[in-house]
């Protein structure tokens, strides 16, 4: 394992301190907890947004704490959902009477831990709602399974629900918006390399020099299948086909696109991917309203990417373009 760290057992703690030291104008840490909350003074009465999950997905989620996005981010151990007491502290810290929306990615652990926290908060009289992001089309949806995973599409939920809250919408409206984003967004990813959880010390799977893993999540776990590496154009086609199969998009529909790097892929490759994505979108007659390219929901040092497609309407467009000012996402 080659990593620039000190002690594998202490990476989350040191990272959180490093984030606060880098962005003191944006975030502060709840003392004694792995929770980052907004540091900027604002007296605004607004719905508070809380998200989080395992660490190793940086800048998710601490990087999105700030004006127009999250009010708190809870960090678990690497790839391990945070515990209910941590989430509960975050909820208490950011609620200002307007209620709290939990944005949860659909993993058994995240769902259970966040919901237990929500139960604790409700017991103390805090209004709590939650939404569960499940954008990953690699996993077939079924009422009999855990359902789809939540991956990079979550960033759109943070951005758009965050804008709704900042604009002063109430809890049920913000929840409605978040759910609209969730029902309109689809993602799928692939990787060239595995990644190594520091405490585990070895990669989660192995790939030959000419192989890629397709349809994988963001926790270093294997994907739905393995293939020989192909040119970027063919990889993009495969992923977009899966996405298009799953969401109803007609000619002239407007979409937002995110090309998300998994942590170890250079921007050069993400832009080459974007070039292909745009071509296929154009062929399909879709109108790309906004594109986001970069490392937003990563999987440690994994090389690979995911594509997310969000179908837009006027309401979502306005909220997507609303001002945001966070360490990892800014919209002027």
């Amino acid at each position: 394992m080659k990593k620039i760290i000190n002690n594998p057992e202490n990476v989350v703690n040191e990272m959180l301190d490093g984030i606060v030291k880098a962005h003191p104008e944006y975030v502060k840490r709840l003392e004694g907890f792995n929770v980052l909350v907004r540091a900027d003074k604002h007296d605004k009465k607004k719905v508070a947004l809380v998200s989080g999950g395992g660490s190793g997905h940086e800048p998710s989620h601490g990087g999105f704490v700030g004006e127009g996005m999250l009010d708190a981010a809870v960090a678990g151990e690497v790839f391990t959902s945070p515990t209910p007491d941590q989430v509960f502290e975050a909820i208490k810290a950011v609620d200002n009477g307007e209620g709290v929306l939990l944005i949860i990615k659909n993993y058994t652990g995240d769902v259970m831990n966040f919901q237990m926290a929500g139960e604790l908060a409700e017991a103390e009289g805090i209004k709590v709602e939650s939404v569960i992001v499940n954008d990953d089309v690699a996993v077939e949806n079924s009422t009999w399974t855990t359902g789809r995973r939540g991956i990079a599409g979550t960033i759109f939920v943070h951005k758009i629900a965050g804008a709704a809250a900042e604009k002063g919408m109430n809890l049920s409206e913000v929840k409605r918006i978040a759910e609209k984003v969730i029902s309109n967004v689809r993602s799928m990813g692939m990787s060239l390399t595995p990644c190594t959880v520091p405490a585990a010390g070895k990669p989660g799977f192995e790939l030959a020099e000419d192989e890629m893993e397709v349809g994988l999540g963001i926790h270093g776990e294997p994907g739905t299948h393995r293939e020989k590496i192909k040119p970027a154009s063919e990889i993009v086609k495969d992923l977009l086909d899966k996405i298009f199969n799953d969401i109803d998009l007609k000619e002239n529909d407007e979409v937002a696109v995110m090309i998300n790097g998994l942590g170890g892929t250079p921007l050069m490759e993400l832009y080459i991917v974007n070039n292909e994505v745009e071509k296929l979108m154009r062929e399909k007659g879709l109108m790309i309203y906004r594109t986001i390219v970069g490392n937003y929901m990563t999987s440690l040092e994994m090389a690979g990417f995911s594509i997310s497609v969000l179908k837009l309407d006027d309401e979502l467009k306005e909220l997507l373009d609303y001002k945001a000012d966070t360490p990892a996402f800014k919209k002027l």
């Binding site: 395992g54 678990g76 959902s81 058994t108 652990g109 996993v139 855990t146 999540g217 776990e221 294997p222």
Partner: protein, 208 residues
């Protein structure tokens, strides 16, 4: 009958066994999950272990509830809330008791399993810890009712749990992280079922 001291000894031994199997459980989880089950469980039971001393004079309910809350606030992931809920439900059965009768134990086990099923919305046959826990519970109950000693009953239960673990190799996961792999999960044993088996086996070995 399990005395409070025996309960503490069992928890202590479980912590030891989980620590010994940290890498093994992690490797099992890595194959079809995210490779943290052993790490998380070890963190949780180490925290439990550190509290055992302060629980020496407490009743069984308190001991189990403290175990539950400690697991919930340290393990994380899926197994934290699940095992936490299991211990929490079991603790409620024996509130204030200084020792556990065979009937208590059957009831605790039953409640624990119900808690896991409720929290995780899973059934037997979905390649989870339930595939070890449910058969173990059924055999335990049977063996106790047919007059075997608790130790023998837990030995039988451990065998059933082991078979449950073996069974998980043959099926596809439909709950938890391994479910994302679809058919690729077949052939691998479930990490959570394995940790459940290890706990039951440890109870059997600790009892005298």
């Amino acid at each position: 009958m399990i005395t409070r001291d025996m309960l503490l000894k069992i928890l202590h031994n479980i912590a030891k066994v989980i620590e010994e199997n940290r890498q093994f459980l992690t490797d099992l989880d890595a194959a079809i999950g995210d490779g943290d089950h052993g790490i998380n469980m070890n963190k949780g039971f180490k925290a439990v272990e550190e509290k055992l001393n302060s629980l020496k004079d407490k009743d069984c309910g308190t001991i189990l509830k403290t175990t539950a809350m400690t697991l919930i606030s340290t393990v994380g992931g899926a197994s934290g809330p699940l095992y936490g809920t299991a211990f929490l439900k079991a603790s409620a059965v024996v509130n204030g008791k200084m020792e556990l009768s065979s009937q208590d134990i059957i009831k605790m086990f039953e409640e624990a399993i119900n808690g896991v099923m409720m929290r995780g919305k899973a059934q037997r046959g979905e390649k989870t810890m339930l595939d070890a826990l449910i058969p173990a519970y059924e055999v335990l109950k049977n063996s106790i009712e047919s007059g075997k000693s608790l130790k023998e009953a837990f030995q039988d239960a451990a065998k059933a749990a082991y078979e449950g673990v073996e069974y998980t190799k043959t099926i596809k996961a439909t709950k938890g992280r391994a479910s994302y792999l679809g058919d690729r999960s077949i052939g691998h044993q479930d990490a959570g079922a394995t940790s459940s088996y290890l706990m039951i086996k440890t109870i059997a070995e600790t009892l005298d």
